[in-house]
Structure formats: structure tokens, C-alpha cells
Symmetry: C2
Subunit: 224 residues, 2 copies
Amino acid sequence: MAKKAIVLFSGGLDSTTCLYWALAQGYTCETLTIAYGQKHEREVHAAREIAQRLGVKQHFVTLNLPWLASSSLVNKEQQIPEHDLNEITSGKIPSTYVPGRNLMFLSVAASLLDAVGADAIVAGPNAIDFSGYPDCTPNFFKAAGQAINLGTEHGVTQGVEVLAPLMDLTKTDIVKLGAKLGVPFELTWSCYNGGEKPCGKCDSCKLRARGFAEAGVKDGAVEK
Amino acid sequence: MAKKAIVLFSGGLDSTTCLYWALAQGYTCETLTIAYGQKHEREVHAAREIAQRLGVKQHFVTLNLPWLASSSLVNKEQQIPEHDLNEITSGKIPSTYVPGRNLMFLSVAASLLDAVGADAIVAGPNAIDFSGYPDCTPNFFKAAGQAINLGTEHGVTQGVEVLAPLMDLTKTDIVKLGAKLGVPFELTWSCYNGGEKPCGKCDSCKLRARGFAEAGVKDGAVEK
């Protein structure tokens, strides 16, 4: 029987590539999409459309945690910062950091995994072309995987894989992988500002633009 | 300046003892109480009353995760099981297990800690007189603490303590500690069935009753 994976799926470039990767690896996938008040909640709609097109089972969860407004990704009174590409990858934690987000997302995924009896969690963190968040590093993901294996029923009885296939890839590599896997780039949403079109100025837009440019691939989401 | 702790606080005997312990240790405490559809949601009211009486800042969160209905602690179609005391402590995972609960609770606490700038998380798991849940073991808590220290801003910049002061105590020891600290036992709620009075038949009631009996302390919550 095919192994089952819970894919943390925001509808962005990275997690969509993860979903296509997991399907290509032969996993039966269920997606988990979490709304937490992010300005770019339209990524949730992107997630819905992409998962529907693939016919995979979807789970949507809303986390209503007032203190997340400490992040400029959530707080409408705070501007999303505009950094140079050099600043973005300097390792400094920017104001868009959402406190404890990835540990919460992984733990909600672990809960779902335990309830439906899945074998793996797939997530899209990336430690190369990223915004300096502490919860996107290989060491953090390894520690979170250990906690999941020790603190869930499936972890202690049969083991759980926590997979981060994009961890060591550049954004350019991710675009190339996505192109190879047939990712519908035009449906994905990366911009931190939830406008009509990607702003082109936030960290996420800049990293994405460089990735597509260096990969020599057309970004259908920007150019449509 | 006093160190600040986020106390995971259900309003039960163990977490109330933890809260009093943390205050006695000199921590400025903020409580975090999480409703997740538990049948005994009246414990949330117990938590509110106890924290108000102490004048500590309280946070209440609701997790709306449909798949938690796989647990008899949540699913109204499933009976809470009634085990002998020997069965309870046999290590078998019972139907009251809530998938991934403690990792989710710790991760929400870590997010709050990061947002408000606290130094420690205090939780009340106990690996002696407990229901055999995988997420109440010392190894799990240690791994979760590592993940929190690697995956949060406060973890990577100044370190976070994850404290489980009851981990190695028997329920009898916990009652004795609570009595010494002045815990208002009559306000705490432990019963898994959320009735008018504790049922006396669920795992939680049985462990609690034995603890009070062996400690020679009167349980005001049962006898009121």
C-alpha cells in the first residue's frame, strides 16, 4: 500500500513544489493549509485551487492567536519591509517572522498524521534563499522530527518521516525542480502583501524573481 | 527583573500545582489555556477562576481541529473508558489520547513566549501516575524543548527553559506539593467526563482519588 504523507501546503512556490515532489515519490498525499491571519491569505485560495486540480484530500485550519500580530506579516498597522537581496539572506530575523510558526504547523500536521494514520510529513522550508527565520533551519527540522517521533502514537509505534526536500536547494534549483515536476507556477502565490498582483518588493517576491531569472523559466504568476 | 513564564494551564490538579510552583519560584506567570473540544471543557472555567483569583494574565485559545474527534476525550459518540488502576499505568495508549496534543500545546506556548518575550514554559506532564500517553514522557519533553530552542527567536538569541516540574512525581507527591503551595484543590477539575460532579470512574478521577488518599489530604473538589 502506498505510504501516506501530510503535506504542509500554503499554495506558495515552495510548498507546491513539495506537493508535486511527494506525489512523484509515490506518496498518497493529504494537504494541510493553515490560515493564521497572514496578510496574504489569498495564498489559501491558491492552495485550494491547486489541490483541487490534483484531486488530493485537503484540510484547512484556522489558528486564531491574537499575539501573532507581533509580526508584520499579520499586523495591518505594520508595513512589510523592503530589503535588498543581500540583506534578506544576511541571517537577521526580519519583522515578517511569525512567532513559532513552523513548530506550530509541524505539530498540527503531526496531530493530523496521528489521527489519519499517515507515515510522513512533508514541508517546504529552505535554508539557502530564505528570510532568516530560525524555524527554517536543518537543525530545527531535525529536532522537531525527533519530538514528533517521541510524542505521537504513530511516532512511537512505527516511526514518522519528517521530510524537507527543499532544505538545501537554492530558489533557482527549486524553480528548476518545479518545472521538471510540472508545477503550475501561475497558480502559486508567494507575495507577502496580499494585493491583486505580486508587489515585486517584499523579500518573498525578490527571492522568487531571482530564482526564476536564474533558472531561465518564465513566472506565469507575475507575467499573466 | 523577574523572569517570565508561560504556564500551560488546564485548570486541573497538575497544571494548577505547576502554576503555584512557578509563582513560588519567582516567575512572573502568564497562563495559556487551550480549548480543543474536550468533553470536560468545564476545566477551562476552572482555569479562568483560579487564574483570576491569582491576578495573573490569562490567554485563552480555541483549536478547532475536526480530526481530534478520533479521541474519546473529544468524540461524544465514544464513551470514556473505565480502567482498573493497574491497567491505567500499564503503558498502553488509551482511547482518551488526543493526537499530538502536548506538542501542539507546547508549540502554541512557544509562539506566545516568542511574542511576549518570556523566558520559560512550564507544563504539568507526569510520567509516573499517568494514562500512558506518548506525549507525557521525559524524552518527548526534552526533544520538544530542543525544537523550541532551535525554532524560535528567543530560543536562538537567549535560550528558553521548558520546565516539567511534576514529571517524576507520583500523584501522591503532587497532592503533597500542592497542599504545601496552597493550591485551592476545590477549584480544580480533573474528570474526563464534564458532568456536574467528578464521575469517579475515569482514569483521571481514579488517579486523583488514589493520590489524595495516599497523601492523606481531603479533596475539596470531590467532597464539596
